[in-house]
Symmetry: D2
Subunit: 360 residues, 4 copies
């Protein structure tokens, strides 16, 4: 079994890692780390509210019993001798400091954005750009690390990149415009989105989000050239908003293509491209990365976020676009805290295990 | 005083007309019409639930007391002898039949879509395309009517058209892409949007809406040529969605222009264009049709829908767009049941009164 | 296998029966009935929206594939020759007419209220008042039916009755006051609760609900005396409200008892009473009808409605009550469309099968 | 003009004070105080988000322009030489320290709970217990202060106490049971209620709230005896919950009375008792403290919270109660951040001005 440490284990993303790894066939949780404040306590105690005695467990799934008595260690002092992979669920600030410390010794799969935009760091989506793995060799050489850091994409990027890839491969993308209606869980709980702000409302701005999605999409759909990735050249323009939805990001995409792309051809590409994808067969991989619906009222975040265990991106309303030459427009729903966070990172780790980058 | 009949007076839009005309300086409500079922009763009785005795009054504003004892007549038998204008708040199906009957004798200002797409029918937004009024002369001549039908735009079109007009006038629009997050009130109450469908959700499809917005925007921003309107030639592509918001449509707009248009110039155009607009001074007209906010977290539907009595369109987040040549992107919020429905129709009537098309 | 007919199969409760019976070890769906409008079509066609082609399937669980090609028959002409039990998911009005027709020949387990208040009709909750089954013998004799009608309680009654039973058995109840915060799904979809009415709101009245809960609770906790039930004598007073929750009724209960009842004793009664309940071992029965939580912030409808497959009532915040002599107060959450509707009715049928009232 | 200092001016309650005092006929804002962090800046700067430049103004009403350039001083160093009254909008912790410092010199009207439960401190609701003012003389004498501290009740208590008073006066209360469905604004914004916790949910516990309501209600409805208040003797038992509502607390009340009290008599008492109340004519006082509705679907928080400027408590659904001897049950809606916070405190100050306790 691959032995994993979860860093940031007491937060919501850390808890999602615990859920994603529960009864995992290849990976076991061997260490839990968090901030100094939690260090030295059992996991149960660390997530128990002192005043009320209530468990601060934030996932819909029940608490993972078998880690409850594990000790929580200080993330800054995490021992890695018996660890094969670190899952990092911390904020970007501490990630900048801690992830390189870990990566000197072992691979780090991260949900933080700290390293996403560095030249020798891939942003992997298994099945989409699995070939970018080889950039990890460059990274190791550059930095003299035994391990590496591989961050997952932003939760808003992932569904977009997954659905654009087939269109890019088949028709060549020339431009992409996207408006998102993002779930509150994407903002976390500290305090995340305040109820008073979001009820009967839309918040039209998520600081930093639009830039991230634009840059990451081009990088993910780019090609390896020598020691780096040449980003895809089509421009991406986004508007990212927050709506009163618990989980599941909804995106309205307008995609212009180089070559003629009608609705039937686009549908075929979206449905068929991942039939035999490069992450097929991994324990957390969906059968098909994309699920296409014909129901004009779908996808809806509440009804479609959990498709294929929250790992499939659901696409619908594929229509011709009157503005973009050769273009189509469509809607997608992607689960931002499953495929878009911890379970997506576990999928990345699985690919890296199969390819020999993690373990042994 | 101009004497108005409200047709569809018992429904939500009819009630909004009553609110919009309460203490109006130029117009008084002289007749109320509804379906046969309500005919012959007092207005109060017609909107009283028989089982519970509760008043079925749907506006936030209090019920308009002075119409409560007016009789409701059958819309199919409405007498127009002492009526100067009909405000039609009925569905498109009955509008197709009834509005021409009324228009034979008196002007009809309508919130229904039934006649919007006919060649001799303008879609007026006072201050935006006031010059399209002259198409009403063509309509009268064509149809041999003493009155005319002038429909207001769809509630999603109106904010879009108001904000595009300055950009089109100053920079020339070459393409527009828009994604809306529309309020539930736009769907009415029969049953409109069901609570079970919209809570913790986004509904990605509103039948017919996208086509309406695309067509209407081009018509409104078109130019009169002889006996008809030549629609604006720039393509418009929309995705229309429904979110858990009570009132106020939010739209994410991407606008490409013919001539260079940076953020400062676009902001200046949006802010300044309507400083002295052609509807200025009308009782229901906002001082400026557009209100521009610098707060990056605005406009928000709950906070901005009521700006200037629900008659101003609030614009924010004006940013460069990396996809559209010369383009900008921005967010807008427009009150769909004030400027976008009854109060907007009253504004249209005010313009027509001032221009001598109603009353006299 | 017991052969079941689902009447009202195309509605939301009917669909919940299909889900509850999917892969059921004892019962198979043998016939589907609905209104005349759906009759003669396949089930798939009957629930397909003609305009959009979308499937009108309202459960969170995926559509039950193996019934999709079954024909739907007119409920008024349902043949019962090869049917062992009818599950009735229709409104009270048609239930009054149809259920007796069916009951002449076969047992009817119903979610409708039509017969709940008749003297020879029990309102069964397996594990709570299983002994009331024998009233079905009286009913058969009285009415000369081969079958019978046994209605399930109102979805608001069921959690209340389940939690009051242990307190009544151990301490003797002298009075009960309850305020509910009910989920929208309890109102169905025709149109049920309109989004415009419930967002940012509480609706303080649900017609008929309070009377139902008061009467049903006393009947369920009553005792069989000869040919009828003597209702429990303690008064019950309710206020029933609707809140913006999808599923799961929340109730604040104040219970006064005859004998001393402190928090510890009440907790023990609530936790232990159903340890070996009379419905134990039935396929749909929860291990314990009540789940007690120590977390002061629980039960919450979103977090606790699905406990034990939506079949357990979760109780928390058990506190002394300063008003009621010997009383306690507590909160409960009960799943109104699982235990409180179709799955609860299936559980009732299971008990009746085991006791020899259905089948054989 | 009475010169007021607002302490805690940058928070949401402080802003509500600014709105409540805008164009006030008797009171002008003369000083603004907040924590050390804000001290020395203009009010505008103190409430401007440094990163985004957005104004952190939390009221629905527009920002109060004329205070924007006033300096904010450190609350711990507030000079009181030219101040006639301090409005305290701070948390209970700092209130314990600061309010006595202020009260040595000037009267303090507070929304904090810090002093509510002390023997020589009244909890005033003008019109309900105006005679409790004389306890302020006792307080001054006891503590040797020139001023005094007079806290307003908890926002959940106020509507309850206002509606119980007439019933107590006319029928004599013997017991009260209340379940609240409270708005999110009652929890403030630091972070208050998190969106992820409240959407599609009810939170059944608000720490400390139930005790406060129970104790305060008895004190407010008590009688002055010598140097202290003898609390009302009837027991009060509450369950306080949080629902997804922006503003307006809804309460389901069950009231038992000593003397016979039918629905008609209770309605007459609730409607008529405050016809000529002791706060009549004060600038912020509602004409009647209670508004009774006959609509069975009212009061609703969204529709009724703003009745009479948010200062009236709306009562409906007055029904007989089957449990409480002689009792009635009813629903109420009260605006928790208007009558229940800053505007209520301003009303208290107005009464104290008229009675000669503030100013002069």
């Amino acid at each position: 079994m691959i032995r994993a440490a979860i860093v940031g284990a007491t937060g919501i993303v850390g808890q999602q890692f615990l859920v994603a790894l529960k009864e995992h066939p290849w990976i076991e949780v061997s260490a839990l780390a968090a901030s100094e404040r939690s260090a030295g306590q059992s996991y149960r105690k660390a997530i128990t509210d002192q005043t009320s005695g209530a468990l601060r467990w934030f996932c819909d799934e029940p608490p993972v019993e078998h880690v409850m008595d594990m000790p929580v260690v200080n993330a800054a002092e995490l021992k890695l001798d018996n660890i094969d992979v670190v899952f990092s669920a911390i904020e970007s600030g501490p990630a900048k400091v801690l992830e390189p410390q870990y990566a000197e010794k072992v691979p780090v799969v991260s949900t933080a954005s700290a390293f996403r935009y560095e030249d020798d760091v891939p942003i992997l989506i298994p099945g989409v750009n699995s070939d970018h793995i080889k950039l990890l060799d460059v990274q190791r050489k550059n930095r003299g690390w035994k391990g590496f850091v591989t961050p997952d994409p932003n939760c808003t990027t992932i569904g977009l990149a997954i659905t654009l890839k087939p269109l890019h491969a088949v028709f060549g993308l020339s431009a992409v415009i996207m408006t998102s209606m993002q779930a509150m869980s994407g903002a976390g709980r500290s305090p995340g989105v305040i109820g008073l702000d979001i009820l009967d409302n839309v918040i039209p701005y998520i600081p930093g989000e639009e830039d991230k999605v634009q840059k990451e999409t081009q990088k993910i759909l780019g090609v390896i050239e020598g020691d780096r990735i040449r980003p895809a050249s089509f421009p991406v323009s986004c508007t990212c908003t927050r709506v009163a939805v618990l989980e599941g990001h909804t995106e309205a995409v307008f995609a212009a293509t180089d070559r003629a792309c009608d609705v039937a051809a686009a549908t075929e590409a979206l449905r068929g491209y991942y039939a035999d994808h490069s992450a097929s067969g991994l324990p957390s991989a969906p059968a098909n990365l994309i699920s296409v619906t014909e129901d004009p009222f779908r996808p809806q975040p509440r009804l479609d976020r959990d498709n294929d265990g929250g790992m499939a991106t659901t696409v619908g309303r594929i229509r011709p676009d009157g503005v973009m030459a050769n273009g189509v427009k469509y809607m997608l729903v992607s689960h931002n805290t499953k495929m878009g966070a911890a379970r997506g990172a576990v999928l990345t780790a699985e690919l890296l295990i199969r390819e020999g980058y993690i373990g042994k």
